[in-house]
C-alpha cells in the first residue's frame, strides 16, 4: 500500500504523459456523458415532476429502476447496436471514445432523470399554487423550476459524474481498452491488475479515488449552499 501511494504520488508529480492522457480521456468521456444526460434527463425529470398523465406512476417506477442498470448489460446493448452487423454498425463507432460516451450516457441519464424529478417535484409542490395563480405555461414552469433548483441539480449532475468515472464494465466492452485510444482510468486499473502490476493498479486507483473525493467535496459544498439558501 505504501509503495502504491508512493508510486501514485510519483506518477502525479512526474506528470507522466500516458497518465495524463488516461486521466484526460476519462474526464472527457465522463463529462460528455454527464452533459448529454443532463440535457435529456433534467427536462424529462421536470416534465415528470410537473405533469399528470395516465401511467405516470409506472413511468417513474421504470425510471427509478433504470438507475440500477447493470453496466455490462448496457455495454452489451451498445456493443450489439454499434457492431458491424448491428443497426448502427455503419457509423463505425465501436471501440471509439464516442461509443464509450453513448454507453455512459445510457447509464447516467436515468440517474439524472430520477434524481431531477425528485428535486423538482419537491420544489413544484411549494410553487404549484403560485404558478397556477399567475397562469404560467408548462415551458415557463419547467424553466423556472430548473433555474431555482440549479444548485441542487448541479449536485445531481455530480452524482452522475461520480457514477460515470467509477464505471468500468460498459466502457470496457464498447471501448475495448485500446492504448492511446480508449483507455480510461478504470479499464487501465483492470488491465494492470490482470498483468500483476498491483502497485501501478493501486496507484491509479488512488488517483481515481482522489478524483472521486474532489467531486464529492464539490457536491457536498453545493448541497450545503442549497440547504442554506432554502432554509433562510
Amino acid at each position: 500500500m505504501d509503495s502504491a501511494a508512493e508510486l501514485a504520488v510519483a506518477l502525479m508529480l512526474s506528470a507522466d504523459p500516458d497518465l495524463i492522457e488516461i486521466v484526460w480521456l476519462s474526464l472527457k468521456v465522463s463529462l460528455s456523458a454527464v452533459f448529454l444526460s443532463c440535457l435529456v434527463g433534467m427536462p424529462l425529470g421536470a416534465f415528470l415532476a410537473t405533469t399528470s398523465f395516465a401511467g405516470r406512476g409506472g413511468v417513474i417506477v421504470i425510471v427509478n429502476a433504470l438507475m440500477g442498470l447493470p453496466p455490462v448489460v448496457v455495454g452489451l446493448m451498445v456493443y450489439l447496436a454499434l457492431s458491424r452487423s448491428g443497426p448502427m454498425g455503419f457509423l463505425g463507432l465501436l471501440y471509439t471514445p464516442t461509443a464509450m460516451i453513448i454507453a455512459q450516457t445510457l447509464l447516467i441519464a436515468p440517474i439524472v432523470t430520477a434524481l431531477s424529478r425528485q428535486v423538482l417535484e419537491d420544489m413544484y409542490g411549494e410553487y404549484r399554487s403560485f404558478f397556477r395563480s399567475i397562469g404560467l405555461r408548462k415551458d415557463q414552469t419547467i424553466l423556472a423550476l430548473i433555474r431555482d433548483a440549479r444548485l441542487a441539480l448541479v449536485t445531481v449532475a455530480l452524482a452522475g459524474f461520480g457514477r460515470a468515472t467509477a464505471e468500468v464494465g460498459a466502457v470496457m466492452i464498447v471501448g475495448g481498452n485500446i492504448d492511446h485510444l480508449t483507455r480510461v482510468m478504470t479499464t487501465a486499473i483492470a488491465l494492470e491488475t490482470s498483468r500483476g502490476n498491483l502497485a501501478l493498479a493501486m496507484a491509479l486507483g488512488l488517483i481515481l479515488m482522489l478524483l472521486a473525493l474532489v467531486v464529492n467535496a464539490l457536491a457536498h459544498g453545493l448541497r450545503l449552499s442549497t440547504t442554506r439558501l432554502s432554509s433562510v
Binding site: E126, Y127, S129, F130, R132, S133, I134, G135, L136, Q140, A144, D148, A149, L229, S230, V232
Partner: protein, 245 residues
Amino acid sequence: MSDCADKTDCAGLTSLRTKNLGLSLDGAAKLADITLDLPPAGITILMGPNGAGKSLLLLLLHGLMNPSAGEILWSGRLLDPQITMRQSLVFQRPVLLRRTVAGNIDFILRARGRSDTARRDLALREVGLNDMAKAHARALSGGEQQRLALARALITDPDVLFLDEPTANLDPTATGLIEKIVRRTAEAGTKVIFVTHDPGQARRLADDVVFLNRGRIAKHADAGSFFSDPGHEAARAYLAGELPL
C-alpha cells in the same frame, strides 16, 4: 389596467356573482349554496371561524379549484383561465422564488412579456423594499416577505386582489403596513377580497363582510351594519368570541 390587448375587453372584471356554489372533497361537503353578489369596488372581507371554508372559497373564486356545483361569474363572464390571469393572489405563507427581491418581481414581469426595471423599482418603493432589491428574498423577515409578495401580486395591475390571511403570522407593525398597502390598492380601483379571522382587522378594512360558518354564508352585509348588528347568531357569537367549535 390588465394586459389584455383589446381595450374593450379590458374593462375591469371586478363584480362577482356566484350561484349555488358548492365544493365537495372526498365526499365531504366543504362549501354549499354559496350565492354571492359582490360590489365591483372596495374591500370585501371573508370572515369566519377556522374550517368555515374561507380559503377554499377564495381558491374557487380565483379558479385554482373547480366547484362541484354552481357557477362563478366575474362581471357576467364565466370564470376562465384568462380571468384568473387578470387576478392576483397573496397566500398566507408567501411563496417566494429562490431569487433576489428584484428577481421575484422580474420573474412575473418576464412571464407576462414586459420586463421593466423602472416599474419594478417603483413597485418595490411602494412597499418600502427599494433598499433591499438585491437581498435574497428568503432572507427577509416575515413582514418584508409578505410585502414583497404583495408587490409581486400588484405589479400586474390585477382587476382583483385576493389575500388569504396575509397577516396571520405578522406582528402589529408589519400588519399595519400590509393593511395600508391593501387600502391604497382598493382606493386605486382594484377589487380586494381579503380573508381574515380577525374581527379587529375586518373592522379596520371592510367595506362589506361575508361571514362564513360551516361552509355556508351565514351573513353578507356592509361593514357598518354587520358590526353594529351581525344579524346572525353565529356571527354575533363569533364577534363576541363565543362561537362554539
